[in-house]
């Protein structure tokens, strides 16, 4: 069955692990969501940068509101699952929560810089760095 990948502005590349998770038969899209872009308050230079990047990627750029557009697309293409790159952005997370009411959502993390425990002491950078340094200073397998 075809899977839907929603590529958002935090993950603009075609070898993001979201594609491996979604499998070979995918529809990949980006939403030019005016409401979202205005809330993010991006300047024109950034919008050009993002658009230029999208032009090089195997994604369809859709001019629509993200939630309604994605739900409609999923219905039209009979996709039950939507794969989304992980993001800390609260506005994108709000969209994800709305999508979860209607579709099966799979969040896919990007390749980490270093793998560390989630409860790490991060009060100051050097507490983090003392733990991260050894791993950070060597190449990963990826």
């Amino acid at each position: 069955m075809t899977a839907l990948v929603w590529l958002h502005e935090d993950a603009l590349r075609h070898d993001h692990p979201v594609y491996t998770a979604a499998g070979e038969d995918v529809i990949s899209c980006f939403f030019w969501d005016e409401d979202y872009l205005q809330k993010m308050d991006y300047g024109f230079k950034r919008l050009v940068f993002i658009y230029e990047t999208l032009c090089e990627l195997p994604v369809t750029i859709i001019h629509d509101s993200t939630v309604e557009g994605l739900i409609r697309l999923a219905e039209n293409q009979s996709c039950e699952t939507i794969y989304i790159p992980a993001t800390p952005n609260p506005l994108l997370q709000e969209i994800i929560v709305e999508l979860e009411h209607r579709l099966l959502v799979v969040i896919v993390e990007d390749t980490p810089f270093v793998s560390l425990t989630k409860d790490l002491d991060m009060k100051r950078f050097f507490r983090y760095w003392n733990k991260a340094k050894k791993l950070a200073m060597q190449p990963s397998d990826s």
Binding site: E9, D10, A11, L12, R13, H14, H16, W32, E34, L37, Q38, D41, Y42, G43, F44, K45, R46, L47, V48, F49, I50, Y51, E52, T53, L54, C55, E56, L57, T60, I61, I62, H63, D64, G69, R72, L73, P85, P88, N89, P90, Q93, D110, T111, P112, F113, V114, L120, M122, F125, Y128, W129, A132, K133, A136, M137, Q138, P139, S140, S142
Partner: protein, 264 residues
């Protein structure tokens, strides 16, 4: 549901198209910094992490300018680190470079833990002032590069024209806004996020808090001698045109933070 165009014969047409689909923006000037995975790859091939460690603090030093590509996920920190390591014999030679990548990872991890607190002061100011003694809004002279402090105006002009700034000039401008003008870091951070192509809620806001002292042990300040040390010939560092910056750290600390000594 409208599918947007992806093929343009030249950049001018692409820029025009973006202007048409973002009618809420007044500005329609693109930056010379171009998007695209192929551009990200070219820039990654051009990094020199050893030279970086020697010159990164200088405004014309060999910094990578990878930030917009990293910010939007086109390059991972993992990929950049692996590439940098492949260019040196001993990882110690490029520790400073990897540590700078780690700063981004550190800020992202804090953001992931508390995504909705990204505009809150993490700690109180260590300047002798309370948060409510700072102005809420950025003044128009700052927004338009007309502060009258020559080097600060040049740094702001670069931001407005290119959408990019060197790390050192970000620190100078942020310190000028928060400590010389006594404006809340949030006002400056919001303005940076609008203009920077690499604008990132975590790297930007936490760096502003680091300068402000709400996420560090003391406020970051600089003086004109420091700008002279790291600037290049095009930056105006004349004393008379940068008078408010031209003093020793002791004098600046007394002038900018007069209550500091009396704090509990």
């Amino acid at each position: 549901m409208i599918e947007l165009e992806k093929i343009f014969t030249n950049r001018k047409l692409l820029v025009k198209h973006v202007s048409e689909i973002s009618p809420w923006l007044q500005d329609s000037n693109a930056s010379s910094i171009t998007g695209g995975i192929s551009q990200a790859e070219r820039q990654l091939q051009d990094i020199d992490p050893i030279e970086y460690c020697r010159t990164r603090n200088f405004l014309n030093g060999k910094v990578t300018k990878l930030s917009p590509y990293i910010r939007h996920g086109m390059l991972t920190l993992d990929r950049v680190r692996n590439e940098a390591l492949s260019l040196c014999k001993d990882p110690q030679q490029i520790e400073k470079f990897i540590q700078e990548l780690a700063w981004r990872d550190y800020w992202q991890r804090i953001y992931q833990r508390h995504p909705t607190h990204i505009w809150d002061d993490i700690e109180s100011y260590k300047t002798g002032f309370q948060a409510d003694e700072y102005e809420d809004e950025l003044s128009a002279d700052i927004a338009t590069a007309n502060t009258g402090v020559a080097c600060i105006d040049q740094f702001i002009e670069t931001l407005l024209r290119t959408g990019y700034m060197h790390n050192h000039t970000r620190m100078y401008v942020a310190a000028y806004i928060v400590h010389w003008r006594r404006i809340k870091w949030q006002a400056g951070a919001k303005w940076f996020l609008h203009h920077l192509i690499d604008g990132d809620p975590a790297s930007n806001n936490f760096s502003w808090q680091w300068v402000a002292s709400t996420f560090s042990n003391k406020p970051y300040i600089f003086n004109l001698d420091n700008v002279r040390k790291y600037a290049h010939a095009e930056i105006n560092t004349n004393s008379s045109e940068n008078a408010v910056l031209d003093a020793s750290y002791e004098i600046l600390t007394l002038n900018l933070f007069p209550n500091k000594g009396t704090e509990q």
